[in-house]
């Protein structure tokens, strides 16, 4: 508060010796500043269409609507580099973001691998159906005890520790965050994985 008083005193000194904005005789700077701010201020782009008249020190034009609408987006404001603006992630984004968890999928015997976006599937049934249609095969029926019964193939995945696990054992969310790649095993290998736990 003291600094404010000291500053105000200095301000008086300035007032006494310096240029003034208003006509000689007008005294109250603050009133004047407010007055100028409300009336001479250049309206923001949105409101300029309404106030057609050119603003100058023209007291006639009193427009109390010069405050900018809260949500108006002005070009180039706030002044942040486009690079930074484009890289600001939305708040509270999930770790396993729906925007692309691309994983490699290999199939025993197939000449090349495929890639799928895990984020677009809502659960195991959808994923397995997609794999079936991608590689043209059928996955058997899943049971906790016996894995995938009724087919030569078993869908497996490599988890974060590097171990090969059977798809379907853990909850979907846990699977999404720990799965690194998929492999559709065939034949005896597949059956071996299905037995025992």
């Amino acid at each position: 508060m003291e600094s404010k008083v000291a500053y105000d005193n200095e301000l008086n000194l300035i007032k006494a010796t310096e240029l003034r904005l208003g006509l000689p005789g007008t005294d109250d700077r603050e009133e004047q500043a407010l007055f100028s701010a409300r009336n001479n201020k250049r309206p923001l782009p949105d409101t300029s269409k309404e106030c057609g008249s050119k603003k100058n020190s023209d007291a006639r034009h009193v427009d109390n609507e010069t405050a900018p609408p809260a949500k108006a987006q002005i070009v180039g404001w706030p002044p942040i580099r486009s690079y930074r603006k484009n890289n600001l992630q939305p708040k509270k984004s999930d770790q396993a973001e729906a925007a692309g968890i691309y994983l490699k999928v290999s199939m025993d015997g197939a000449p090349y691998l495929r890639k799928i976006d895990l984020g677009i599937y809502k659960g195991y049934p959808e994923l397995l159906k997609a794999l079936e249609s991608m590689f043209k095969f059928t996955i058997g029926e899943y049971s906790e005890r016996e894995g995938y019964k009724g087919s030569e193939y078993a869908p497996t995945y490599e988890d974060k520790d590097g171990d090969w696990m059977l798809v379907g054992d853990v909850p979907w969310d846990m699977f999404m965050s720990s799965c690194k790649r998929l492999r559709i095993m065939k034949g005896s290998e597949a059956r071996g994985l299905g037995c025992g736990v």
């Binding site: 301000l11 904005l21 500043a33 701010a37 020190s57 949500k71 002005i74 002044p79 770790q95």
Partner: protein
């Protein structure tokens, strides 16, 4: 001085390092001018259109390091159309055709093509350092050329560029024989990276001090890299996401303990906050921390982290730290010199991110603060006055209130007094950005007190021509003035036309200057380029009374530029 042989003069000039000092030296007499220019190795060109490559090459045959800046500053905020200019190609062509042994090139806001990068990589046998800041126009193909052909490359630093990512192969283009890397920053690349190639590169670069990774580099790779490069001083993590119960994370915790040299930390482009404790041990020694892209670290985790950083001198963060978080910064980081608080939600309304209270707390706790960029919801005169009193050492003071014409919410007054206090108290102020409700008074104060001011940014401020005139008359050291959406017109523009030859440039957009005013200026000052940017009405030569939407003028030795696009009209 004529009695000394040139070699002695040259030896003395060796101790004169800064550009400005060397420029001053060269003005003393013809002899000094000659000795200085023949011995100069580092040249800074603040506006690439102020001179030509030929002039540069003729004057400084010993040139080794060149810094070039292209587009005006407001191009950062989309106010300059895309093809305005700022091409580096003619410079590289000219240098390549000369005998100049270029070793370092630093570019800011320029258009760089793959062709330019390839030419650069093939033209200079001793090329060591490429730094690109806010540039555009190139892809990873250009980077591959640099990697492949610059045999003694020490530094490749890409900061906030828009790069088209075609593949991660460019990293593999560094030959096995390349072992000279000291600094590599590719954080702004958006695509995948050949991780194995990266690890091999790090393994064969014993001098590597600075490494900033992009989003595509996972925590496992970071772990491997830190194992091989515990000598790093500057680290930018890529994706910092992992299961904190995993073996990889545990390994990382141990590896980090060996990295005793890290002083700068940045990145965390993706982050799992539960993994942050691994870096607490290095926080103790950090002098610089940039978390301004780490949107995944929220208030309380941010605060926990910062409590470990007692030696911090530079901090860049997002405003989700909040006023309370800034109080923690104030009580922890007593050595703080530079603070930047960026908005995490620039178009959001009323999220109480940071206000004047955070800034005042910082000013109380961190008296060494000299550099500030602060995006906030609101500001008061009282707060600014307090800040001015607590921190008289400001060199750079940039305030951005998200609502650009907001008054002091407590008193409903303009912020003239607050900024007035800043310029009066901070006698060494060189750069100032204003915001909030402001009248001509603030410009009066600036003209009166800001004697060292070199750069001023004005938006939505002032009432009349007087405002701009106060500044042009009072600030003797003014070099760059950029104004948008303010009621300054021809009178302000034309009262002191000679002033513009003492400045680098003036930008005025959405102001009151007319075509006639600009024409008059251009006629009176032939050594200025007065450019009108007319995006909407293509070359409609309207009346002189027509207001000019965007005007950019700068002093130049070489007249109107020949590469100006259709929508740019040099008067």
């Amino acid at each position: 001085m004529n009695y000394f042989p040139d070699e002695v003069l040259e030896h003395v000039f060796d101790f004169v390092a800064s550009h400005r000092d060397r420029n001053a030296v060269s003005l003393v007499c013809r002899l000094w001018h000659r000795v200085e220019r023949l011995s100069r190795q580092r040249v800074f060109v603040g506006n690439c259109y102020a001179l030509s490559p030929q002039i540069l090459i003729a004057r400084f045959p010993g040139l080794k390091s060149l810094t070039l800046k292209g587009k005006p500053h407001f191009a950062d905020f989309n106010l300059v159309p895309h093809d305005w200019g700022g091409y580096v190609q003619p410079w590289i062509e000219a240098l390549s055709n000369s005998r100049i042994g270029l070793e370092e090139l630093r570019l800011k806001r320029m258009v760089v093509s793959d062709e330019s990068l390839e030419l650069l990589s093939r033209s200079f046998a001793n090329f060591k350092s490429l730094v690109l800041v806010s540039c555009e126009g190139f892809t990873t193909v250009g980077l591959a050329a640099i990697a492949a052909n610059c045999r003694f490359l020490r530094e490749l630093d890409l900061q906030e560029n828009e790069i088209d990512d075609h593949s991660g192969h460019w990293l593999s283009c560094f030959p096995d024989s390349c072992t000279s890397l000291i600094s590599l920053n590719f954080a702004c690349l958006k695509g995948e990276i050949n991780l194995a190639a990266l690890e091999r590169l790090v393994a064969r670069s014993p001098n590597l001090r600075s490494l900033r990774l992009n989003r595509a580099v996972p925590l496992e790779t970071l772990q491997n890299i830190l194992m091989r490069a515990p000598q790093l001083v500057d680290l930018g993590t890529g994706s910092y996401v992992h299961d904190p119960d995993s073996e990889t994370y545990n390994k990382l915790k141990h590896t980090i303990l060996k990295c005793k040299s890290i002083r700068n930390l940045s990145g965390f482009l993706e982050v799992a906050p539960r993994c942050l404790p691994a870096i607490y041990p290095i926080c103790l020694n950090l002098t610089s921390l940039n978390l301004s892209y780490a949107a995944g670290i929220h208030g309380s985790e941010l605060v926990k982290l910062i409590r470990h950083c007692a030696k911090l001198q530079r901090l860049w963060i997002l405003d989700c730290i909040g006023d309370k978080g800034l109080e923690v910064v104030a009580s922890t980081c007593k050595e703080l010199q530079e603070l930047r608080v960026f908005p995490s939600d620039p178009f959001g309304v009323g999220h109480a991110a940071v206000t004047e209270n955070g800034l005042v707390a910082i000013s109380v706790g961190c008296p060494k603060l000299h550099s500030l960029l602060y995006f906030c919801q609101q500001m008061t005169n009282a707060a600014l006055i307090a800040v001015a009193k607590n921190c008289p050492n400001f060199i750079r003071f940039r305030l951005c209130i998200l609502d650009p014409t907001k008054p002091d919410p407590v008193t409903m007054q303009p912020l003239d007094n607050g900024f007035g206090a800043i310029v009066q108290s901070c006698k060494r102020l060189r750069r100032l950005s204003l915001s909030g409700l402001l009248t001509d008074w603030v410009f009066l104060y600036i003209g009166m007190y800001a004697e060292q001011l070199e750069m001023l940014s004005v938006a939505f401020a002032g009432d009349s021509d007087k405002g701009m005139l106060y500044v042009l008359n009072g600030c003797k050291k003014l070099r760059k003035l950029e104004i948008r959406d303010s009621p300054f017109g021809n009178k302000a523009l034309l009262t002191d036309v000679g002033k513009y030859e003492t400045m680098r440039s003036l930008w005025m957009s959405s102001c009151e200057v007319t075509l006639g005013g600009c024409k008059t200026l251009a006629k009176e000052m032939p050594r200025l380029n007065v450019e009108i940017i007319n995006e909407h009405d293509q070359m409609e030569i309207g009346s002189d009374e027509q207001r000019v939407e965007k005007m950019y003028l700068y002093r130049t030795l070489v007249g109107p530029r020949k590469d100006a696009p259709e929508f740019v009209w040099t008067l």
